[in-house]
Amino acid sequence: MNTAPAPAPVPTPAPASPGGPLLQVSGLRKTYSTGGTQVVAVDDLSFSLHPGGALGLVGESGSGKTTTARMLVGLERPDHGQILVQGAPIAATVRGRAARLARAKAVQIVFQDPYLSLDGRISIGTTIDGVLRLHGCGDRAARAGRVRELLAQVGLGDRESAALPRQLSGGQRQRAAIARALAVEPAVLVLDEAVSALDVSVQAQVLNLLSDIRRDTGIGLVFVSHDLAVVRYVCDEALVMYRGRTMEHQPVADLLTAPRHPYTRLLLASVPRPGWDPDAIGRRRRALDVLPGDTGSPTAPTAPTAPTAPIA
């Protein structure tokens, strides 16, 4: 957490696009029922992302950020609310090949754990080739060229292309996963704790890579993370979630220097550093559990972890 790569080179907000927002989320809500009790995982979440923009979704485990990520790519169906990508709604359920491919083109995701998100039986190159074939990208030779291009974009070569995931390091796998997501040429890329499983130096490489890709392609990034340092490095806006609710949403620089909400201040204080007092943070944490308007029991909101069981 305190191992941030060099501070914030990116906060140059892209100009507001003439065609309206790339991604618009409004009134998103998702509840789970576990053993008869209803747990609200995400409550009335709204945000928008302009082309080339990067939004950080920040919060602790159980704050609903992974559920949000899964709703954005259609792995979970929202109870209420709407997700618009380039003005077109993302259907809650897709029927048929065309609809599936259209949704894939809208949003792609990179998962937290590159050890689990790649198919262990299939080489990196074949995996990406499969994505290209599904999306109808030319003949075998054209696809081979595109695979090489995509892998080069994330800094991988022919050796890695021929390798099985288990023959690669964590950082190489996560690069491969990013290349796989980019192969679809999505409008928006969701990164669900995509660097949390990587060690620090590799984290920095992957974050730089993402910044480059964003600058070069104008893709929109939704960066789900518990790590404020990581969010500061990649994103220009951040949205802080706590128990499914939006606590605050403002440019990253302001959020870090002048946090408005007590929960954000707590998150900032929770980052280990010299003179850091875990006990004091624990007390502030408990005080927060009785937020105004909060009806749930303190423990309930941590229950709705999505099936992917986020570690962070």
């Binding site: 259609g74 090949r97 491919l101 894939a104 949003v107 039986r121 599904l134 999306h135 679809v184 992917t308």
Partner: protein, 301 residues
């Protein structure tokens, strides 16, 4: 006996296209079978029996259906390596020729039950919900039926022979595979690589059969190997009861049946020979199957 034709049908129904890695799998297993002399010996034994079954007519020195009258209970010797039975049939030749039916029956059972079980398990676990629950209940009921009892029932309804018992036992063995595949699929389905395939826009059928299934195939094969041994035992028992393969077609189970009277007359050899063959093959299949299962479990953890 229509086992060979059904075998072909099953191969075609078995979903995934052969990829080089899967074709190489048996070889890899054989190479890594160095786990112990027992495993290696069992694999060799099974390979030997498979070869015998394939080339039986060329190996058997005599026609096992030809009874040399007046030469019953001949002892082992140059003419009859393992002696003859009451009717003067050459026991060694009967053993060799009997390998075919004794292995083809269980093979058909395993191919049928595995294909069916994989289809049911994969479908229910993927669908989830009430379909999963309902099929689960049906499987529970099938579990309560001993395979042998179902086979005897099938014989009572459809007559003696190999076809009816093989089909009945395929149904009786199916729940074992189905339950295994269901559990594995439910577990595998939660892995992010499956979610990634979904997000990419692949169809459920493609993901389930072409991507998820190959990842659980080794475990399923281990289970099927164990099932093979049990199916052989059950079918031999059925033949022993006179309900399975009918004479003069040679079969280990019916050889034991015909030899049991001879045992009482002090001539146990014609019953002991096929009995030893059954025991060897069943034990070998069990050892190999369990070994594979253990190895896979070790690799997972």
């Amino acid at each position: 006996m229509n086992a060979p034709s059904s075998t072909m049908a099953d191969r075609r129904a078995d979903p995934p296209a052969p990829s080089p890695s899967r074709l190489r799998l048996p070889l890899v297993w054989l190479r890594r079978a160095g786990g112990g002399w027992l495993m290696r010996g069992c694999l060799l034994l099974l390979a030997l029996f498979v070869l015998i079954a394939l080339f039986a007519p060329w190996i058997a020195p005599q026609d096992p259906t030809f009874g040399e009258l007046g030469n019953g209970f001949a002892g082992p010797g140059p003419d009859h390596w393992l002696g003859t039975d009451l009717g003067g049939h050459d026991t060694f030749s009967a053993l060799i020729e009997g390998t075919r039916t004794s292995l083809a029956g269980p093979l058909a059972v395993v191919l049928f039950s595995t294909t069916l079980g994989v289809a049911v398990g994969l479908f229910t676990a993927w669908r989830g919900g009430w379909v999963d629950t309902a099929v689960g209940r049906v499987l529970d009921i099938l579990f309560a039926f001993p395979a042998l009892l179902l086979a005897i029932l099938a014989v009572a309804l459809f007559g003696k022979g190999l076809t009816a018992p093989v089909l009945a036992m395929a149904i009786a063995y199916m729940p074992y595979t189905a339950r295994l595949v269901r559990g594995l699929t439910a577990q595998e389905k939660t892995r992010p690589y499956i979610a990634a395939y979904q997000v990419q826009g692949h169809s459920a059928v493609f993901i389930a059969f072409r991507r998820l299934l190959p990842n659980i195939t080794p475990t399923v094969l281990a289970q099927s190997t164990v099932n093979f041994g049990y199916a052989l035992l059950d079918l031999a028992a059925l033949s022993f009861l006179g309900l399975g393969v009918q004479p003069p077609t040679p079969d280990w189970g019916s050889m034991i049946n015909q030899g049991q009277a001879a045992v009482l007359q002090g001539q146990p050899l014609s019953a002991i020979v096929p009995a030893v063959a059954v025991v060897l093959v069943v034990v070998a299949f069990n050892v190999v199957g369990e070994n594979l299962g253990d190895r896979l479990a070790g690799r997972e953890s």
